[in-house]
């Protein structure tokens, strides 16, 4: 393996932080979901890297499942978000403040 595992962890941690930042800061439902997807991909990178590092295939399996689950998440999430857009005509989470 060419890249040391520490560098992979560093890359994944950076991606994870970027994704979390995007999910927390952006004021657009689509961008929030996008940020969460980036966080999932960061986890997938750690799994692939660790799988190569440890010579253990469980990590690779994990990544396949993450891809499938992420697709499900997007389909459920986008369905709810499209529904919300039809109701309110906006992607801004600030328009959802009925419940208090």
């Amino acid at each position: 393996m060419i890249a040391p595992f520490r560098d992979i962890l560093l890359l994944a941690a950076t991606l994870f932080a970027l994704g979390a930042f995007c999910a927390v800061v952006r004021r657009n439902l689509i961008m929030i979901v996008l940020g969460i997807e980036i966080m999932l991909n960061a986890a997938a990178i750690v799994f692939v890297g660790a799988s190569l590092h440890l010579n253990n295939l469980d990590g690779q399996t994990f990544v396949l499942f993450i891809l499938a689950v992420a697709a499900t998440e997007v389909s459920v999430g986008l369905a709810i978000i499209v529904y919300a857009f039809r109701r309110t005509g906006s992607f801004d989470p600030r328009h959802f403040n009925l419940l208090r």
């Binding site: 979901v33 969460i36 459920v76 009925l98």
Partner: protein, 481 residues
């Protein structure tokens, strides 16, 4: 491979498939009671059959899917609790008016799928099976919450639940990746052998905490509790009841399993759990005091209760685990009874305000009594199951020397008594502005209310049998770990 040990899962999978087929074939009928009745009775029949299947396989033992799915007494007890929870929730779905009629099959489909996922979750012994079953249950719940007909509310609750839930699951996944990369294995039993020696490594501690974050979301523990009040308020009453009972029970089970196998010997973890527990119960109890909406109040009381549950878990010994298992059962009974009264008082599916309870003792003495018993039990007043549960947890914690923590919890119990008594005062002492007609409660509902009251009180007086079950269920957590 012995497939019979997965009997409950197979049964619930078949039941949810049946409802899926019904959603394809059933014609969209206008609001007429015949069709709705049929779906309701089918669901009750399948749910009660599910309890029998779970009871029949309660002593099953073994592994499936190359040990990713382990069946032991611990998981079987929790599966029985989950099937019981589903059955009780289905019982109060008879007049579910705030979900469109043509969506009822899908409603039951998602309810059964979610129960299936929670059952897989309590048996999961591999990080991958934990992740997949947790996601399956969450996705079913996101849709169930958003199904509510009152457009704005259900939608908003669904969006908030989805965003916070998927954020928490991403955090959990990153934690699992860190745990896997440090331990070199994704099997919980093998991790239990490796991890205690590596507790000084920051990757392991971060990984464990991040992983627990995903479960804390399920249980509504402090940093991941923001969804609870909004979701409870925005979801239809029955779905909120399901989230408060079955989903919480499974959350307790998975935290127990992961902490018992991966968390031994970590002082960092215990410190963090102590802080989270204290913050959860204090914040939950203080926020609950100012609520006007009954479901929001119950949501904050759930946050407080997850604080108490964490005390039992952080003790990290058999006494603490069995106390926590007992408390899961107690939570199921108490929360269900409270929600049953809410559902019964709002046949049109609106949100119940606390002032609407005024004069309840005259409108329906039985429901008022059920509310009284449930809230006293939640507050932990002696001859109830809630008192026994708290007593067991606090004694387990004191035996391990967490005296300060228990004192803080006691203070919290007193604070919580304040808002529970406010609700009881509304139901028993206040009179409504104009006289309301008596509440018509059907006979099965009366039976259900009477049984709930009986369970809460009798299990408060004679808890030994249940305590023995809880102790036996805690054994697999200690053995071979």
């Amino acid at each position: 491979m012995n497939w019979m040990i997965a009997g409950p899962e197979i049964f619930y999978f078949a039941a949810s498939l049946w409802f899926l087929l019904l959603t394809f074939t059933a014609q969209p009928k206008p609001a007429q009671n015949g069709g709705r009745r049929r779906e309701y009775l089918t669901a009750i029949f399948l749910a009660s059959l599910g309890i029998l299947v779970c009871l029949a396989s309660v002593h099953a033992q073994g592994w499936l899917f190359t040990r990713g799915f382990s069946v032991d007494f611990f998981s079987q007890v929790f599966k029985t609790l989950l099937s019981l929870g589903l059955f009780l929730i289905v019982c109060i779905c008879g007049q579910i008016n705030d979900i469109e009629d043509r969506r009822h099959n899908e409603f039951y489909f998602l309810l059964f799928t979610c129960t299936l996922a929670l059952m897989l979750l309590v048996s999961a012994d591999h990080l991958l099976s934990i992740y997949v079953s947790l996601e399956l249950s969450s996705y079913s719940l996101y849709i169930l919450v958003a199904l509510r007909k009152k457009r704005g509310q259900g939608l908003e609750a669904g969006i908030k639940y989805f965003l916070i839930g998927s954020f928490a699951s991403a955090v959990m996944l990153f934690g699992m990746a860190l745990l896997y990369s440090s331990a070199g294995t994704a099997y919980l039993p093998e991790m239990a052998k490796v991890l205690p020696g590596m507790m000084a490594s920051p990757a392991v501690v971060t990984g464990l905490l991040f992983t627990l974050g995903g479960f804390f979301f399920k249980l509504a523990v402090f940093p991941f509790h923001f969804w609870a009040p909004d979701t409870y308020q925005g979801a239809s009453n029955q779905v909120a009841a399901y989230i408060a009972t079955a989903s919480k029970v499974a959350g307790i089970a998975i935290i127990l399993r992961v902490v018992a196998s991966a968390g031994q010997g970590s002082t960092y973890l215990v410190h963090v759990l102590v802080i989270l527990s204290v913050v959860s119960m204090t914040l939950g109890n203080l926020a609950a005091m100012v609520q006007k909406d009954m479901k929001r109040l119950l949501a904050f009381s759930t946050v407080a209760h997850s604080g108490y549950v964490l005390i039992g878990i952080l003790v990290l010994d058999a006494a603490g685990y069995s106390a926590t298992i007992f408390y899961a059962l107690a939570l199921l009974a108490m929360k269900f009874t409270a929600f049953m009264v809410v559902v019964e008082l709002t046949p049109d599916g609106r949100n119940l305000q606390i002032e609407e309870l005024a004069g309840l003792h005259r409108r329906s003495p039985l429901m008022a009594l059920a509310l009284l018993v449930a809230l006293f039990s939640l507050a932990g007043i002696p001859p109830t199951i809630g008192f026994t549960g708290k007593f067991l947890i606090f004694t387990a914690a004191i035996q391990k020397g967490y005296v300060a923590l228990v004192i803080i919890a006691m203070v919290n119990v007193v604070i919580s008594l304040y808002y529970y008594l406010l609700v009881i005062k509304a139901a028993y002492l206040l009179e409504p502005a104009e006289a309301l007609p008596p509440l018509v409660v059907s006979f099965p509902k009366k039976l259900l209310a009477g049984l709930s009251i009986a369970v809460i009180v009798v299990a408060g007086f004679f808890p030994w049998w249940l305590i023995q079950i809880a102790q036996a269920a805690a054994q697999p957590l200690m053995l071979g770990r």
